[in-house]
């Protein structure tokens, strides 16, 4: 077929997605970035102040603290969720009943709304009647009891288990789908060559799905940097900003303190930081091939 037909097809195929996406996603992002240059309460008049919001952001200690929290999440996701999901995918990809049950079980948190997840984990961590403290008491490990969500030093780390637990199912099905994709012949060839277990894992399986692993990492980073629901439900970013995330900070600025311009600054910063982190991670992992 000639190149004009191909070109026309490409245009027609891409057009609806591009238009819909540009209109409903990209333009709002730009609009938001635009308002980051203004001092606006969200109601009435807005006054142009150039990059002052950004200057304020750079000097805002709460901003840096929340960025630190997000980085903790990114690391926990990339080093926690991805390997865990990979591990589970490798051992859970056959079709017998137990495996199906376990796959469904691991995925189940994705189905629940964050309100439910937040509620449950709040009861796990509840200082007086929570499951965690109850179990520690029963095991005579009461000295290990801490104020899981109240102690500013550890609160953000207490949020990692619910986070990993909620999303590991997503990466599980992505990896399973990728593992299914490895051509059967490669598997047989490996068997004949005598490669088993860990050798097979590292020399054949992983490289074959490396592309998917990279995809998972990008999704991880993107998700962790804009993470909002779980923290908002469980701690509202408290106590005293201890568990504040970029997205909750932005939400507060926009909807609680009537500083829409500043809120837009934060969300634009999120996009920029995400791009930087993703770019870096892609560069780092593409050399490994």
């Amino acid at each position: 077929m000639n190149s004009t037909t191909v070109k026309r097809f490409i245009a027609v195929a891409l057009a609806p997605s591009l238009i819909l996406y540009a209109l409903f996603v990209f333009i709002p992002v730009l609009w938001s970035a635009f308002y980051s240059l203004f001092n606006w309460s969200g109601i009435g008049e807005a006054s142009f102040i150039g990059f002052q919001n950004y200057k304020e952001l750079l000097g805002d200690s709460i901003f840096w603290h929340t960025l630190g929290n997000n980085v903790v999440f990114v690391l926990a996701s990339v080093l926690g969720q991805v390997p865990l999901a990979l591990f589970l995918a490798i051992i859970l990809y056959k079709s017998n009943a137990i495996q199906r049950f376990l796959r469904a079980a691991v995925f189940m948190p994705m189905v629940l709304s964050t309100v439910v997840i937040g509620l449950i984990w709040n009861y796990v961590y509840h200082p007086q009647i929570g499951i965690l403290n109850f179990v520690l008491d029963a095991l005579h490990l009461s000295s290990l009891k801490m104020e899981w969500l109240s102690d500013p030093d550890i609160a953000i780390f207490s949020l990692i288990p619910p986070l990993v637990w909620s999303y590991v199912g997503l990466y599980l099905i992505i990896f399973i789908s990728a593992l299914q994709n490895i051509p059967g012949e490669l598997d047989d060839a490996a068997k004949i060559d005598g490669a088993r277990g860990f050798t097979k894992l590292f020399k054949i399986t992983l490289p074959m799905i490396w592309g998917t692993i990279q995809v998972a990492m990008i999704l991880c980073i993107a998700g962790s940097l804009k993470s909002f629901d779980l923290v908002y439900i469980m701690t509202r970013g408290g106590p005293a900003h201890a568990t504040e995330l970029l997205a909750t900070y932005m939400y507060n600025a926009t909807f609680s303190t009537y500083r829409y311009g500043y809120g837009s600054t934060i969300s634009t910063a999120i996009v920029i930081i995400s791009l930087l982190l993703i770019g870096t991670s892609q560069w780092l992992t593409s050399r490994k091939k």
């Binding site: 195929a13 609806p16 609009w31 439910v116």
Partner: protein, 290 residues
Amino acid sequence: MSKIALHSPYAASGTFTMKRIAYTIGWIFITIYGILTIYPLFWLIISAFKSNAQFFNEPFSLPNQWVFDNFITAWTTSKMGIAFRNSTIVSLASLLFTLLLSGLTSYVLARFNFRLKGLTMLFFVVGMLIPIHSTLVPLFILMKQLSILNTYWALILPYTAFALPTAIFILTAYLSTIPKEIEEAAYIDGTSLWGVFFRIMLPISLPALSTVSILTFLHSWNDFSFALVFISKSSLKTLPLAVSNFADGFQTDYSLTLAAMTLSVIPSIVVFLLFQEQVMKGMTAGAVKG
């Protein structure tokens, strides 16, 4: 030759039994993990059968009395029937559009080379990075201009638009791993590009499409913020909104909230179970059918 040793009934090497033990312990741990993971769902369901007072006093025990009334009250007072209908329409529609549009886009991005390809991918990636709350006001204003506020489109279009980046991302990655020979035969036969798309690419991408389906459906089914802001007519309310009615800033009627949540979680579970079979079938199934 060590393989022979493994299968030999005379194998009594230490490594063999140790591996066996390690395997079994491993499996036990994983099963425990599985049960722990399912526990919250179980907890949700039994809590929904409790009265408020019992939930407050004994959050972890089994219900003293199985209060079915919670479900009936929750259903009628929050008009869940209507909410279910609306959520279903909106979620299915966005699912359909997302599959179609992302399928087309991924086909092009994975299989063709053209000048602005890299830029286009980057363009879509940016969409995955924005916290959605920052788009609430601009989208609201945009939809007001387009006069689609308070219609199903006010939700279907943004849901689709926001699902596209992730969908395209996953699909493109998947398609790139499929050898080109598959379509080449069809091209030589003179099949049109559209034909190739519908008859070869879509069926082959079934596993990835199933993954995308699950994600998109869940995303639309559970979304709260967009449904809160873009729809203000009761007749168009979706489930998450209906469920939230029982929690005021000052007090939460847990028995009703949990009952409502249990009801709304059922379709999600069904969708997941349906599609996970597809995800598991793998490429071989697709190739045979094609």
